[in-house]
């Protein structure tokens, strides 16, 4: 695609006005997806894309240009013009390029030949089960996507690294209908492992759970309104931590002082039963990587230990703003975005309680068995997230199903209000959106209880 000498030409042009750092990010990606509605294949698409992003920095000022035209003269001109926005009197010497170092958190068995037909056959197993399971399952929409992406990061400090991602995700969405109401529930497993991950995945068991959930929610009453204890189930329940805390620990907001936790390092920000990590090093996990999109090694970062804030998620620009080292969390959706600090696999660590004991010790409240997504205002810490499958807790027992609940609050308050943490940590995959685009992330947590949170129901 681009030779080392041409990359050096671009770096030279990028530093021609004496910025202090230049970086070239080259991406090459092939992707395949199939989309089904019930048993019909509605579409199948292949995309071949590549592009280059050039970043130039002077202090905390950044210029970013990108293109998918690899003509070296055009790229050099683009870099030269971009350089004009960052001028200084102190020349920066470009370090000699290191030998190319290739890393990957993906687990790929090259002997395993998989085609679109295998994706269709796999989805069909889940679809057939769902449509035959209960007459109330009216429709099943599904898709399978696979991408193989290579990114190369070369910078003026001599970094010359390449990361390979082999990423697959299946999603099956069941729609239950009782003639007057429609309710949906979905599974969406994803991985950096090869196709054997899906053949090992308990597909039928998980689809059955979602069918049961959608059918149950058809007849569920509406959740109550007001402040009450909420027990949040494990796995995707971790979206609460992702939204309520994770985003506000990113240098994107900490570095400009907008995070409510910006000056809280070493202080208690959560109850003492809460410890949390951002671990990009879990091999084969959806949100993992070995080398981040800035060429730094990924990390297994302790964010909170027994309620005390231990670390922030810091990218190169954040490190310049905050006067510290990057933690290997610079990520971007693709070459069209400059990188910024992002989460990877972020979870609340397992505690010592048993999930059943937490329920038994809750007189009245909501059990949020399955969570939807949410969002947060990183300046205020105000968050919201949706409960997809909820139940009332009455007298220490899970009672009738309820729907239509949204949990809202302030991140700093909800973290302090977590009073019970179980031992059943589970991770669940998702996609997170921020200023550097949408990146794959894993959220996770054990079953936990928030002693008081506002439930936005209807009754």
């Amino acid at each position: 695609m681009l030779s080392d000498s041409n990359i050096n030409r671009i770096l030279d042009a990028a530093l021609s006005k004496n910025a202090d750092f230049a970086e070239v990010f080259i991406e090459d990606k092939t992707s395949t997806s199939v989309r089904m509605l019930d048993r019909n294949v509605m579409g199948c698409a292949n995309t071949l894309g590549s592009g280059i992003g050039i970043r130039i920095m002077l202090g905390t000022n950044v210029v970013y240009v990108y293109s998918n035209d690899f003509d070296i003269d055009a790229l050099t001109k683009m870099a030269s013009e971009a350089a004009c926005a960052l001028k200084s009197d102190n020349p920066t010497k470009i370090a000699e390029l290191a030998s190319l170092c290739t890393t990957s958190a993906s687990i790929i068995n090259s002997d395993l030949k998989v085609s679109e037909r295998d994706y269709i056959d796999y989805l069909s197993k889940g679809i057939d089960f769902a449509l035959n399971y209960n007459e109330k399952i009216a429709r099943v929409s599904s898709n399978f996507s696979h991408s193989y992406k290579t990114v190369r990061i070369v910078n003026s400090r001599g970094v010359n690294k390449q990361e390979i991602y082999n990423r697959s995700r299946a999603s099956i969405n069941v729609i239950a209908d009782n003639g007057t109401e429609k309710q949906t529930a979905a599974i969406a497993p994803g991985t950096l492992k090869d196709f054997s991950f899906f053949t090992d995945y308990p597909l039928i068991e998980q689809v059955q759970k979602k069918c049961d959930s959608a059918i149950r929610m058809l007849d569920a009453g509406y959740a109550p309104s007001g402040k009450m204890p909420v027990v949040i189930g494990n796995g995707f329940g971790g979206v609460i931590f992702h939204e309520a805390c994770g985003h506000t620990l990113e240098a994107t907001s900490v570095g400009i002082g907008s995070s409510p936790f910006a000056d809280k390092l070493g202080q208690q920000i959560a109850s003492s039963v809460v410890s949390a990590r951002d671990n990009a090093k879990i091999e084969g996990e959806w949100g993992s990587y070995e080398t981040d999109d800035e060429g730094n090694e990924s990390s297994n970062l302790l964010l909170i230990e027994n309620g005390i804030l231990k670390n922030f998620l810091v990218d190169e620009l954040g490190a310049r703003r905050m006067g510290c080292k990057p933690t290997g969390c610079g990520r971007r959706e693709n070459y069209q975005y400059a990188p910024t600090s992002r989460m990877s696999n972020t979870y609340i660590c397992a505690g010592k309680d048993k999930p059943e004991d937490i329920i038994a010790d809750t007189e009245y409240g909501i059990y949020a068995a399955s969570m939807g997504g949410g969002s947060v205002d990183t300046a205020t810490g105000e968050f919201n997230f949706a409960v997809n499958e909820g139940y009332m807790i009455r007298n220490g027992k899970i009672a009738e199903p309820v729907r239509g609940a949204t949990l809202i609050g302030m991140g700093s308050e909800v973290l302090m209000n977590i009073d019970r943490v179980a031992d059943d940590l589970e991770l669940s995959v998702g996609v997170c959106g921020s200023i550097s685009g949408s990146v794959p992330v894993t959220v996770g947590q054990p079953t936990l209880r928030v002693s008081e949170i506002t439930v936005g129901g209807r009754d």
Binding site: V62, E116, S225, S253, S375, G456
Partner: protein, 449 residues
């Protein structure tokens, strides 16, 4: 863009596709150049410049359709595009046939809507305006502690669509967008607020109007509190009305109805909303920045009432559902069924928000909602959304309200519209703008304390 190089490539791809086993095919080429910068603490903190292109081939064989795309104009990828398109078709078994389209009376379609001001959008100009916005924001009120983001962007670029039926479509547009968000602190309480502007000519941007509105709305958020959970009459402020209606538009798609994925199935011709609601698609609306004379399938668009005085007049159709249902395409084929320029028709007898509040008397004005991607079910209509706004007491807009949720079912809610306002605002969507005034809704579930 080197149009000669692009045409040469498209001709070669077209020729190769004609000689393949495809029955029909369509080629799309899109090109975009963009420039933008961010201002932070008196400096250009980030400057971006880009050029991107994408070539996609869609093919049809034995009634099935498939496609492939690449970002490279390199001829060596032409066989790859064709092979992948054919292999995609061979895997597809859509029970409903897909169609390309070309209206023999309008095979050549062109819509070039360039403001003519794109070249004004220089780095220096954006920097000057950006620094001025930041300065004015920081000087506007001592409680404003930071401008957390301030971005100015512009983009332009043509799209070309050609198919083997003879369609030859060319579109080109340009746009400037400006967005800013401030953070303010009073007595240890932090509030944030953001605002955006879009247009085709940067010289039409009024810095003072933008700054004053942003600051006023941010400062009004102080002193807020929750309310007791209960049922309230609410005013959905115009931007909120757009967000909420926009989230349920898929239910108006004829395809969703055919697939039994819309609660509006079978309700065309029936009353589905309060009589005061008229929801219209106005593709050539004179106040819209971009007119939409035809859809992506080459069908000429038409003005129509989707809901007229509460009655569901027509669903939205494209060429595929035209063949599925026998109802002519309404010109809503935008790569799936979608809308162009639409509006909730305002009641001009109530020109201001304050007058609408006066009509409501008691209740809550909802000025923002969050969590749309998770807190609503676009099929069932159920929603529960983090909301904020102001109390309305004795017909006057008063103290701020925060940390509440607004819940309900959209399709039930549009039957409880008390009054449509006249204070129209707009938001840019994928294929056009959405215009709406503020709206009174009766008996809405609010969760708070």
């Amino acid at each position: 863009m080197d149009i000669n190089k692009v045409n040469e490539y498209l001709n070669k791809l077209s020729s190769a596709a004609s000689n393949s086993s495809l029955d029909e095919f369509q080629i799309k080429y899109s090109y975009e150049e963009s420039m933008g910068l961010d201002i932070f603490e008196g400096e250009v903190s980030n400057y971006e410049n880009s050029i991107t292109q994408l070539i996609s081939l869609s093919g049809k064989k034995d009634g099935q359709m498939g496609g492939a795309a690449t970002s490279s104009l390199d001829e060596e990828f032409i066989p790859w595009l064709i092979d992948k398109t054919i292999s995609a078709i061979e895997l597809t078994n859509d029970e409903d046939e897909n169609f390309f389209n070309c209206d023999p009376e309008h095979p050549n379609l062109e819509s070039v809507q360039l403001g003519g001001a794109y070249d004004k959008n220089t780095y220096d100009k954006f920097k000057e305006i950006g620094l001025l916005i930041e300065k004015k924001l920081l000087e506007a009120d001592s409680r404003i502690v930071a401008v957390d983001y301030l971005s100015l962007n512009c983009s332009r670029g043509p799209a070309i669509r050609r198919n083997s039926l003879g369609l030859n479509m060319y579109t080109d547009e340009d746009l400037v967008t400006i967005g800013a968000g401030i953070r303010a602190v009073e007595n240890g309480i932090t509030k944030s607020f953001g605002k955006s502007w879009y247009g085709q000519d940067i010289d039409e941007f009024d810095v003072d109007e933008f700054v004053n509105d942003l600051v006023a709305k941010a400062m009004a958020k102080f002193g807020g509190s929750s309310v007791k959970s209960g049922t309230y009459d609410v005013i959905l402020h115009n931007k909120v009305a757009i967000k909420l209606f926009g989230s349920f538009l898929s239910s108006f798609s004829s395809y969703q109805m055919c697939k039994d994925l819309s609660v509006l199935k079978g309700k065309e011709g029936s009353r589905i909303a309060s009589e005061c609601l008229t929801f219209a698609e106005v593709p050539m609306y004179d106040k819209a920045i971009f007119k939409v004379p035809f859809d992506d399938e080459g069908v000429l668009t038409t003005e129509k009432n989707i809901i007229e005085n509460g009655v569901f007049k027509t669903a939205l159709y494209d060429i595929k559902t035209q063949h599925m249902t026998g109802v002519k395409s309404t010109g809503n084929g935008f790569g799936g069924i979608d809308i162009s320029n639409v509006m909730i028709v305002p009641d001009e007898s109530v020109p201001t928000l304050e007058e609408l509040a006066g009509i409501m008397g008691e209740g809550i004005l909802i000025t923002d909602i969050s969590g749309l991607h998770a807190g609503l079910n676009p099929i069932s209509g159920d929603f529960s959304l983090l909301s904020e706004g102001f109390r309305v007491v004795d017909g006057k807009i008063g103290q701020a309200v925060e940390q509440i949720t607004m819940s309900g079912n959209f399709f039930e809610m549009i039957n409880r519209i008390g009054k449509i306002g006249g204070d129209v605002d707009k938001t840019m969507g994928s294929n056009g703008e959405f215009f709406a005034p503020s709206i009174i809704i009766k008996d809405v579930a609010i969760a708070g304390e």
